[in-house]
Symmetry: C2
């Protein structure tokens, strides 16, 4: 474990206030691993060996059943994933694959559970992090349960516009087929949803999207503070 990697971990709110000794103890046995793109990191039925920290690249968490598959969420650096699974010592519950070549710091789950038991401050941070994760899934659940495909796309575009802060000229951070899966539709349907949004000022050129009538798009999307990310 190099110092540079320790600094990466420390930059995360979850670990920011952990004392140095405890951090060293938790990182013992950890290692930074590089993965090529499109690699399965683990499957939902695997036992949770590691808490993962995505340092570079991009990772998709997905679920499959009965020959169907759906994206649950996308992970971008720098962030941990599968914290809940690592803390309870069970199966991952979700599968993961890289969407790009990625660097991932793997922290033994047992170390994380030990830290939770022995470092009250870390346990507290874990509570806050888990609560945030919980509300994140609740939002996603509301989104798919209460909105149509076109509305989900419209709201996604508005959120990206705020995040990328680039005045209506956004770039999709993932392939359209992955975006389709994340938004709970087929790639064909995503194409058609983009067409439907054309009258609302959505101009598509590959991964570059221009939003030329933000007001109209918002009227259609009806964004909600309690569904769309802050």
């Amino acid at each position: 474990m190099r110092d540079s990697e320790k600094e990466i971990v420390r930059s995360l709110p979850l670990f920011s206030s952990m004392c140095d000794d405890n951090l060293d103890a938790m990182l013992a046995g950890s290692f930074l691993q590089r993965f090529p793109t499109t690699v399965i990191l683990f499957s939902e039925s695997d036992l949770t060996d590691f808490l993962h920290v995505l340092v570079e690249g991009q990772v998709e968490l997905f679920a499959s059943t009965n020959n169907r598959e759906g994206t649950m969420t996308l992970i971008k650096p720098i962030a941990t994933f599968v914290l809940a699974s690592a803390l309870v010592d069970g199966a991952y519950q979700l599968s993961a694959r890289t969407l790009e070549a990625s660097q991932i710091l793997m922290i033994p789950a047992e170390n994380v559970r030990k830290a939770m038991r022995e470092d009250p401050d870390f346990a507290q941070k874990a509570v806050l992090e888990l609560a945030a994760c919980y509300h994140g899934v609740v939002r996603a659940y509301k989104n798919i349960k209460l909105r149509t495909a076109v509305e989900r796309l419209a709201n996604y575009l508005l959120v990206q516009n705020r995040r990328q802060n680039t005045k209506g000229a956004i770039t999709l951070p993932v392939e359209k087929r992955t975006l389709a899966s994340m938004l709970g539709m087929t790639p064909e349907n995503l194409s058609r949803a983009f067409s439907t949004l054309k009258p609302y000022g959505v101009a598509v050129e590959g991964a570059k999207i221009r939003l030329e009538k933000l007001d109209d798009l918002e009227t259609l999307a009806k964004p909600s503070e309690f569904i769309d990310s802050h």
Copy 2:
């Protein structure tokens, strides 16, 4: 706060190992309140004043946006709800209403946050509880994203059959329109889904459902350990 109420709280894993002094401190300012049926307990935008413990009755957590509404989950005694919101000091994120006359123990959220900060053992329990809640929503999210309405109903019936442990003669614990909302469909569509399941041995008489061909139903439902409740 009477002793009987304290015993109720203590019966929950979340509080089982809390020392008596801390429990008393947390329960200071708590009160047991009775509500009639169909009462709104709070709305998603309300600030989280209380951690709720459903002692008797039944509660629905739901979300609404743009004139649509959907059941997120149903709470049955004895269980806490909105723990995540109580711990982070923000809005509830979900709305709640009683589905029956109910008794609810209201614990000031500030007390819960204080307990989390000062009682490491409680923080640990909260971590485990939150992780379980998180996985619960993930399951619900997978369920709606990867299954059709008929499949969701079929799996719901199989889960109820296991839980009620009554050899294929189950009783729906809620009105059908609520069940429809929980399964993410309209009441009309639920009716039709029951009709679709008739050839699979599902016989409906009001709230009484008989499952007469469990094997056929399972073949259709394709239950999954990582979607359906244990």
